[in-house]
């Protein structure tokens, strides 16, 4: 794909600068977006990508610089101005009303639902026409609550198209999609630019940026550090630009499996609201292996994670630790059995925000290691925390500050240190690098690989297929609480795994007990 340099400039950012106190969110950022062009905004978390887009929608006013839309200056701090001028944004977190139908969601904010001028039949006809034109398959009459995540995203895009958006901004759109759904999204975007739309694609996934964009803008610490035509760059260069240095993700080589340290035999757990439980799931975690669990979020990962964490017990089936049934199953038993648990949500589950680093570091071992006859041994706890801070490269002013002041990466390193210091035999890592920058991601991955090399059994749960494929010795796919067979490293292509993620293949394999 190449762009026509003569094409009309639809959006121009000039010298945008924004500071929050001592923190510079954006500094002197300028770029043009042309008609029919896709530009990718690439950068680590916290590089200032989302802040930059928030200027367009009036959430922030810039300290310096200006925004020009279709040749007209955009008044700062006016949320509707950009919308009215034809900018549509699809956020990472969808903004749909669950209890309304698709078509109602699409017209919400454009027309009055109760207004006399509203003609549902015409609205739906227009939505159907748009869906057909842009390959966005969705039933206008369906309730949003019943839609899958991929379908919801299509509704968000339809919403923007229905409003005659000329510029579409997508914030990390593929984070929640299977590879097939992501491919379909790209087909839609190609259709859209052919009709003259312009797209800003915010992402930190290099291969997607390479696949869809014409130009790549790399943001680092709020500055625009590089601009490349996609044809003239490659993933390695972009990764280096993103972090400001050559990055080497840890090399991980396949290993043979050891003994099974944790086995699930036909385990079922009850559904939890919309989140499915496990459906007669069998799994073995072998010593010296990383077992990757791929799947679209909300397909039973939470139930499996809760089960191994000790929060729930199997309703049916059994769980064995090194071929023995554990006693009364609880988080405390799990910890005592040598299971390290890295929870999905480090803010809500992994740490206590207003506790200091010491109090958080000892959260799992306070009773066994840092208390004597009911009295806390704070001196030892503090010394232990200082060692963790040093040993796991937690960047912080000291062990006495509240953990809420730490960045996500440093918070995760503390959690990692807390559990790895116990030299666990089994490690449950649920989305261990979500929201972290590349430096922290590589650090966490290297630590997991190291634990594996000394013989631990690691279960890696992630929605990021790249991460799963890079790290895992064995890959399972989970879909609606059911587990695919294990695939050895390198035997499956992403699209084959994607088919399992979408739920294909399970019925052929269906066990006799339904």
């Amino acid at each position: 794909m190449s762009k026509n340099p003569e094409a009309q400039v639809v959006l121009r950012l000039q010298g945008i600068t924004k500071r929050f106190g001592p923190v510079t969110a954006n500094e002197d950022v300028s770029f043009d977006l042309h008609r029919g062009e896709v530009i990718a905004l690439l950068g680590e978390n916290g590089a200032g990508k989302t802040t930059l887009m928030n200027f367009l929608f009036g959430q922030y006013t810039a300290d310096a610089g200006s925004v020009t839309l279709f040749g007209q200056p955009l008044p700062p701090g006016a949320p509707r101005a950009a919308l009215d001028a034809g900018v549509g944004m699809v956020h990472q977190h969808f903004t749909l009303a669950d209890n309304l139908a698709v078509w109602e969601n699409i017209v919400l904010g454009v027309d009055h639902l109760s207004g006399l001028s509203l003609r549902p039949r015409e609205v739906k006809a227009r939505i159907r026409a748009l869906s057909a034109q842009f390959h966005l398959k969705v039933d206008p009459n369906a309730k949003v609550a019943r839609l899958t995540v991929g379908e919801r995203q299509r509704v968000e895009i339809l919403k923007a198209l229905y409003r005659d958006a000329k510029i579409l901004i997508l914030d990390e759109p593929t984070a929640v999609l299977t590879p097939q759904e992501a491919e379909a999204l790209f087909a839609t975007l190609r259709e859209a630019i052919a009709t003259g739309l312009s797209v800003i694609f915010i992402s930190h996934k290099l291969h997607e940026v390479m696949a869809i964009s014409h130009r790549v803008l790399v943001l680092r610490h709020g500055r625009l550090v590089a601009e490349r035509a996609t044809e003239q760059t490659d993933r390695a260069e972009l990764a280096a630009l993103m972090v400001g240095a050559e990055v080497s993700s840890p090399k991980i080589e396949a290993r043979a499996a050891g003994a099974a340290l944790l086995s699930l035999r036909a385990v079922s757990t009850p559904d939890h609201g919309a989140a499915p439980g496990l459906k007669s799931l069998s799994l073995e975690l072998a010593a010296g292996q990383i077992t990757g669990l791929a799947g679209v979020s909300g397909n039973g990962q939470a139930a499996l994670s809760d089960l191994i964490s000790g929060l729930i017990s199997p309703a049916q089936g059994e769980m064995l630790l090194a071929d023995e049934a554990p006693g009364r199953w609880s988080p405390r038993t799990a910890i005592a059995s040598g299971i390290a648990r890295i929870p999905e949500d480090r803010h809500k589950t992994g740490t206590i925000a207003d506790f200091d680093l010491t109090e958080n570091a000892m959260l799992e071992t306070y009773a066994s290691r840092f208390s004597r006859r009911g009295w806390m041994d704070w001196a030892r706890a503090r010394a232990f925390t200082k060692e963790l801070i040093k040993g796991y490269d937690v960047r912080c002013p000291g062990p006495d500050i509240r953990i809420r002041l730490l960045s996500g990466g440093n918070m995760q390193k503390l959690i990692l240190g807390r559990v790895l210091e116990e030299t666990p035999q089994i490690i449950l890592a649920n989305q261990p690098v979500r929201g972290l920058d590349i430096g922290a991601v590589n650090y966490v991955h290297a630590e997991l690989a190291r634990a594996r090399d000394r013989g631990a059994a690691v279960l890696l749960i992630s929605e990021d297929l790249d991460e799963i494929m890079q790290l895992s010795d064995v890959i399972h796919v989970i879909s609606e609480g059911r587990l695919s067979p294990g695939f050895a490293r390198g035997t499956m292509r992403p699209d084959e795994l994607g088919a399992w993620m979408a739920g294909h293949g399970f019925d052929a394999e269906a066990p006799d007990a339904a």
């Binding site: 964490s309 988080p331 929870p343 809500k348 206590i352 959260l363 799992e364 306070y366 009911g374 806390m376």
Partner: protein, 221 residues
């Protein structure tokens, strides 16, 4: 007696403020029954009032001629003990963890249910101690109007102290000064004693507002 609300909280997740508030009526009526029945002072005809405590059972005065009694020392001691429990003991660490983030505490293996039960029992004990101190130190006998809303005032005091066990001492003295001061002012110069409620309410509101505002950063454009 706080076992009921504690079990409701741990088993069914019912909010403890609501259940203990509702328990107030049950216990007031129970005390009322005791005062009309088994505990009724035979010397006082028709008045719901218990017999006077034996002189040996009463808390002595701290200073002769003043009403200040050993209950005050008891209260100071209680605040100190709670502070030590909170900061120095394993139970205190567990209580703070469960209070701030029960989900993370449970995930880390802290027995959340047991900790809530222990905390509730401890609070119940402290409240009982306060009631005993009021009867044995000041009133001398049990009546139904023993507490003119001490419980609710306690919530205000705790909030003003930002839930710090030692700060509670200062906040309590402050609140007490306002109430007692308002009484004598209304006697001496006829200022309505409601002024105390207004002062306290505004102190609390400003406090809450101030806490809220500390979360924002002031900046000049």
């Amino acid at each position: 007696m706080l076992l009921g609300p504690a079990l409701l909280k741990t088993r069914l997740g019912v909010d403890e403020v609501v259940t203990t508030l509702l328990f107030n009526f049950i216990f007031l009526l129970f005390v009322s029954y005791l005062l009309e029945g088994p505990l009724k002072d035979p010397m006082v005809m028709g008045w719901p009032k218990s017999a006077r405590l034996l002189p040996e059972a009463r808390l002595p005065r701290l200073v002769d001629g003043l009403r200040l009694h050993w209950g005050f020392a008891l209260a100071l001691l209680a605040a100190l003990v709670v502070w030590v429990i909170n900061t120095r003991t394993t139970l205190g660490y567990e209580m703070r963890a469960v209070g701030q983030n029960a989900e993370a505490a449970g995930f880390a293996g802290i027995p959340v249910t047991a900790v809530i039960l222990k905390t509730a029992l401890l609070s119940g004990g402290l409240a009982g101690l306060a009631g005993f101190s009021e009867v044995a130190g000041l009133k001398g006998s049990l009546t139904l109007d023993l507490s003119p809303g001490f419980g609710y005032t306690g919530i205000v005091v705790a909030m003003l102290a930002l839930l710090h066990p030692l700060g509670v001492v200062l906040a309590a003295l402050f609140v007490a000064a306002i109430f007692v001061g308002a009484d004598s002012m209304s006697r001496a110069v006829g200022v309505p004693s409601y002024i105390a409620d207004i002062m306290l309410a505004s102190a609390l509101l400003f406090m809450v507002l101030a806490i809220l505002l500390t979360k924002f950063r002031v900046r000049r454009d």
